[in-house]
């Protein structure tokens, strides 16, 4: 793991909102002019991005909840992708 990854505590920029949509039964990421429907456990992962947890902390929390899922490999890649989109900082 590279140094910046260890220190980075992902958080949503203030203009983005993570919310559950009870009408459609799905998690949403809401941005200016755009709504992203979050599939699978993406909403759960983003819910942990509160600016206090490191990537490692997020992976550990998820590994505890989903012991059989490949979180250690998939989650850092997912967070990195969202960072490049500008949806995490």
């Amino acid at each position: 793991m590279t140094a910046p990854e260890r220190e980075w505590c992902p958080a949503l920029p203030p203009a983005l909102t993570l919310r559950h949509d009870t009408v459609r039964g799905t998690d949403l990421l809401v941005l200016p002019e755009r709504v992203v429907v979050l599939k699978g456990h993406a909403g759960t992962v983003l819910g942990l991005c509160d600016g206090t947890r490191t990537v490692r902390g997020i992976v550990d929390a998820l590994a505890e909840r989903f012991p059989d899922a490949p979180v250690a490999t998939d989650v850092p890649l997912f967070l990195d992708r969202l960072h490049r989109e500008g949806w995490l900082r």
């Binding site: 203030p14 203009a15 909102t17 919310r19 949509d21 009408v23 459609r24 949403l28 809401v30 200016p32 002019e33 709504v35």
Partner: protein, 374 residues
């Protein structure tokens, strides 16, 4: 109603355009408000808006644009933002930038406002003020942009393009970058309502449109990853119908200042629509059951070339208001589409070249437009 192509219950709406008032300090000749502007005395109260937003949230609305006219002319705007926030709806202010000051913006942000879109008429201050029909409006916009940036909110610039500013599209983009915009929407004028009334003055040449489009694509490469550029197509010139609001009654609804609910802001002009009102009916009934929202839902209503066209689920047959404005029949294929039997109406106009000298604007003002007798 059992109808194979139309589900019993339409999918819930994502977005609501709240036209809080039709009053506006500017007088843009292409305004998307109806020719017959709603009177201030007919406007929904704070409580009525709060109830509309609560119902909208329950119905599935996620996004709202608080627009007008000029929404800042509503002294209760922060209360309306708070009501949207309480309903779980993400709020975006669409403003001309006049009458925004630091205290007002702070109150709106505290109430939950998420983002601001600012209209700009031209990159040159004098030209901006001439098109807007109001002196010093450019200076007010520049100041508003700075306030929004300082408050840390995302800033979008909304620019309507026409004969008078298409040649300045590069300068407009540079202005947006200088003002710190995250997103610049360059929307070619749609010709209905005020735009249609002023078409002879606003319609550009094909050359202008081509050059502007090239400039935008060039800037898009340069600004990739920094500023999002949106180009809303000039349907008169492209021969391609634009998707009407993502489908009639499919994605979003518009609530006018007096509580009238429409599938699109321009639909007020359609005859016999019997537009429902939140003062008489629930928003759920209006969305799901009202004849107005079911009139052009899905594809069953389609005529002529749209009926068998493979693109009908993508562009929904184009704009109903444009079909009506140009042919007198809102169910016809949009004449902007090259397959439309009425396409000649549009082609002749786009090829004729603009009127010389350009006729003066009929500025948007209550009573300025001839309105058909009821």
């Amino acid at each position: 109603m059992t109808d194979a192509s139309r589900p019993e219950r339409p999918a819930p709406p994502w977005a609501l355009l709240a036209e809080l008032t039709h009053a506006c300090p500017l007088h843009c000749p292409y305004c998307s408000n109806p020719l017959e502007l709603a009177r201030r005395s007919s406007e929904l109260s704070t409580g009525e808006w709060a109830d509309v937003l609560r119902q909208a949230g329950e119905l599935g609305v996620v996004h709202t644009h608080l627009s007008g006219g000029e929404p800042l002319l509503r002294p209760d705007l922060a209360d309306i933002v708070a009501a949207a926030e309480a309903a779980g709806i993400y709020t975006q202010l669409v403003t001309s930038g006049t009458a925004l000051d630091e205290a007002r913006l702070a109150a709106l942000t505290a109430a939950g406002l998420r983002s601001v879109q600012l209209s700009v008429q031209h990159a040159d201050a004098r030209a901006n003020d001439r098109i807007a029909g109001r002196p010093s409006s450019f200076a007010a916009k520049e100041q508003a942009a700075a306030l929004v940036r300082r408050a840390g909110l995302p800033l979008g610039l909304n620019i309507v393009l026409h004969r008078d500013n298409l040649d300045a599209v590069g300068a407009l983009i540079e202005l947006g970058v200088a003002w710190g915009a995250d997103r610049i929407e360059l929307a070619n004028t749609q010709f209905y309502g005020w735009g249609l009334l002023n078409r002879a003055a606003l319609l550009p040449t094909r050359d202008q449109v081509t050059r502007a489009h090239e400039a935008v694509e060039d800037w898009r490469t340069r600004l990739a990853g920094q500023v999002e550029l949106i180009w809303v197509v000039p349907d008169y010139f492209d021969g391609v119908a634009k998707p009407c609001m993502g489908g009639w009654g499919a994605v979003s609804l518009t609530v006018a200042p007096d509580g009238t609910v429409l599938p699109c802001p321009a639909a007020a002009a359609l005859p016999d629509l019997a537009a429902p009102n939140v003062r008489d009916r629930s928003l759920a009934w209006i969305w799901e059951r009202s004849p107005a929202f079911n009139r052009f839902r899905g594809t069953d209503w389609m005529t002529g070339p749209c009926r068998g066209c493979p693109r009908r689920e993508e562009d929904f047959g184009g704009c109903r208001c444009q079909a009506y404005a140009l042919t007198g029949d809102p169910a016809r294929t949009d004449p902007a589409c090259a397959f439309s039997p009425d396409h000649d109406l549009v082609r002749r106009l786009s090829e004729a070249g603009p009127a010389e000298p350009p006729p003066p604007y009929t500025y948007r003002r209550p009573g300025a437009a001839p309105v058909a007798p009821a």
